[in-house]
């Protein structure tokens, strides 16, 4: 394997992990509150589209972010209305959102911009661009640490750093606040919450809104930070990978981040190996490497992480017992 460039793989690991981290944290909030959220994928896609459109129209990435979050929260509320208020099947509601997102974003994109479902390419000023840390350029050639600083720590956009702040912040909210205590309780035994005089419905709605906000960040990152516009189906299954990471991490914030970084690393590695040959084997079809994250997910979920116990009330609409 000529020239295994660890630094550049790590740099792209970070870039590929960010949407996973935001999305998996989103799932963490709803699922810990007892609402399954298959629709993460769809919310990400909707918010990517909204962010791209708003950034193109206004030229401001911040308004793009705002639009991405707003749309994602609205979709979350739809999911909440179906599955919390009307006690519908949470999986069906989530799948419906995914289908709707895939179709509606492409159709609207085509109707508004006539570019085959894409949004027009964004200027740099309408995107979240890389932030270069002090002395990054000077340190770029000063050994491993310097290159690590310049390429892995520095040189990402603001959303990347927010993702890494969101991890401890989510932990703090879940484990150190009243809201977090109640949220974790409602995912385990909503009856305990109800008899304590707290509204199960309102609590679950707030959890889905948290998820909407985080998915908004994920979609915005895809459309106007990582790329320069919306492309049809650009979420490419990341919502599902995020769900796998969530289960893999047993619904805990810091392990969620680590799982997402692992999946991101595998993705980055697959990209890196494209067209390169493995010593002793020769050129390996790139599809093998692209399949790796999925294979690993199956293997890990099948037996290597022990029993992943989901929140006990997950997926079950709350009905007062008669």
């Amino acid at each position: 394997m000529e020239n295994l460039d660890l630094i550049s793989i790590l740099g792209s690991t970070i870039r590929l992990s960010i949407p996973l981290i935001f999305t998996a944290l989103a799932g963490l909030f709803t699922e810990r509150a007892g609402v399954f959220d298959i629709g993460l994928e769809g919310k990400m896609l909707f918010s990517a589209f909204a962010a791209a459109v708003a950034a193109f129209m206004t030229g401001s990435p911040w308004l793009g972010l705002l639009a991405g979050i707003t749309v994602s929260v609205l979709i979350s509320l739809v999911h909440g209305f179906a599955s919390i208020t009307n006690r519908g099947n949470q999986i069906v509601s989530g799948v419906a959102i995914n289908f709707l997102a895939s179709g509606l974003t492409a159709v609207l994109g085509q109707a508004w911009f006539s570019q085959g479902g894409r949004t027009p390419p964004l200027a740099a000023s309408a995107r979240f661009t890389e932030i270069v840390f002090p002395y990054a350029d000077q340190l770029r050639d000063t050994g491993f640490l310097g290159r690590f600083y310049a390429n892995v720590i520095s040189g990402h956009n603001i959303l990347t750093y927010l993702a890494f702040i969101a991890v401890p912040a989510s932990w703090w909210v879940l484990y150190r606040t009243r809201f977090g205590l109640r949220l974790r309780a409602v995912g385990e035994n909503p009856g305990a919450v109800d008899t304590a005089g707290i509204s199960v419905t309102f609590l679950r709605y707030r959890a889905t809104v948290c998820a909407g906000i985080l998915c908004g960040f994920a979609g915005t990152y895809l459309a106007i930070a990582q790329s320069a516009g919306f492309v049809k189906d650009m979420s490419a299954g990341k919502g599902y990978i995020a769900l796998a990471a969530l289960i893999f991490a047993k619904w805990r914030p810091v392990p969620v981040m680590l799982a997402c970084l692992l999946f991101g690393f595998l993705d980055a590695f697959a990209n890196f190996m494209q067209g390169k040959s493995v010593p002793g084997i020769g050129e390996v079809p790139v599809q093998i490497f692209q399949a790796l994250p999925y294979v690993l997910t199956c293997v890990l979920l099948a037996g290597f992480i022990g029993v992943a116990r989901p929140p006990k009330a997950g997926g079950v609409p709350y009905v007062k017992e008669r």
């Binding site: 009243r178 205590l181 009856g191 008899t195 005089g197 007062k320």
Partner: protein
Amino acid sequence: MSPTPTAAPAIELIGIDKKFGAVHANKNINLTVAKGSIHGIIGENGAGKSTLMSILYGFYHADAGSIRINGETTVIDDSQAAITAGIGMVHQHFMLVENFSVLENVILGVEGGALLGGGVSEARSALKRLEADYGLEVDPDAIIEELPVGLQQRVEILKALYRGAEILILDEPTGVLTPAEADHLFKILGVLRDQGKTIVLITHKLREIMAITDTVSVMRRGEMVATRRTTETTVEELAELMVGRRVLLHVEKGPAAPSDIVLSVRNLTVKDGRGVTMVDNVSFDVRAGEVVGIAGVAGNGQSELLEAITGIRKPTSGEILFHGKPVTGFDSARLRALGLGHIPEDRHHMGLVLGFEESENSVLGYHRDARYGRGPLLDLDACREDAKTKIEKYDIRPPNCRLKTANFSGGNQQKIVVAREIERDPALLVVGQPTRGVDIGAIEFIHRRLIAMRDAGKAVLLVSVELDEIRSLSDRILVMFAGHVVGEKTPDTGEQTLGLMMAGIAA
């Protein structure tokens, strides 16, 4: 106790009325409970006790009527309002978050601020105080699911007290406890009363009413039919008030005439889904013409034992013989064909499909039988005729075999299962919790049927957590604790002795 007559009563319910669709759960209920007393509410399943208390706790809204707490009219429209009014409730199914610590469960809903830090340490010292005042010891950092049920219940009581409850409602609190744990609970309730708390105890067990209450009210079919001072009433009077006629509290039966061994269990070991050994090297026989009862607190391996015998779960080791022939590992269909009847512990999960018509449930499991159809087709007329016969014979109400099973009451649902299994005339009848959640009338009926099976020379294996039931039906009693059979006793053995064995203290 002896509340001063001038003090306002702790609770006054005036004209409470509640309907659920066609079911009139509470009919114009009036109830007064004196401050500092223990008041029992007794009645059959479905008499409306739990509904009434749920209205008091703000879980349901009454259609009419009003509530006074300490003499003041109080509107209780949600649980928060009830808590504010000083009412705490210990539910039949604990309202605890199982993977939370005791402390986290106690502060849930009264965290004392948006951040947890301060409230937690405050709660910790408050728990210490409650522990000292009422003898309610429990480790605040223990995780709920690792605590025995008796302690989990204690956490429920602590939750209520931490919220400043002056009135404590307990809904069927002893259903999951051993007799010793129940006695301990009664002691705690006595201490709480002596410190001025008012306690309402909902139960269908007469023993508890006599043991602990000061006054008792009887509910029947949504009506409050009587209120008595406990010292001025008897078990017989209360039972009669509950059912509306005289009931036999003990099953009349002649001596058993055991003959050949029908079921033989040899060194049976069974693991549950988690891989935990639940039945450990158990051996026993059941003969034709006898009822063998297995007593024990729920969760000591009885369910897994039943599942292994009836072919639902494969044992890890050991042997099961039926009429002397090995049947270990046979599935339930094969066992049924050989003559095994099974009344499962949980009629909702195993015994019935609630969405089916009565006639469908009435043949379920035997639907391949030639008399219910040919080849892949069911003969619906034959099924319905058969169902009608059973309905008549077992007095299943309403007598409508086309009605959805979910619309029958608990007792009648159980009778559907009992009729189905007994009418097959099995050589061995395996029965789990035959009268759980069933009213007294149906209990009596089912008990008589089981004894009739025995007298007809069938072998009956009975598992129940109700000690009274085990003692009145069995000819021999095996006690299970932690997966072992810890002893065999005769049915005239005292409740206390059996209770100690069930708690693993004596053998």
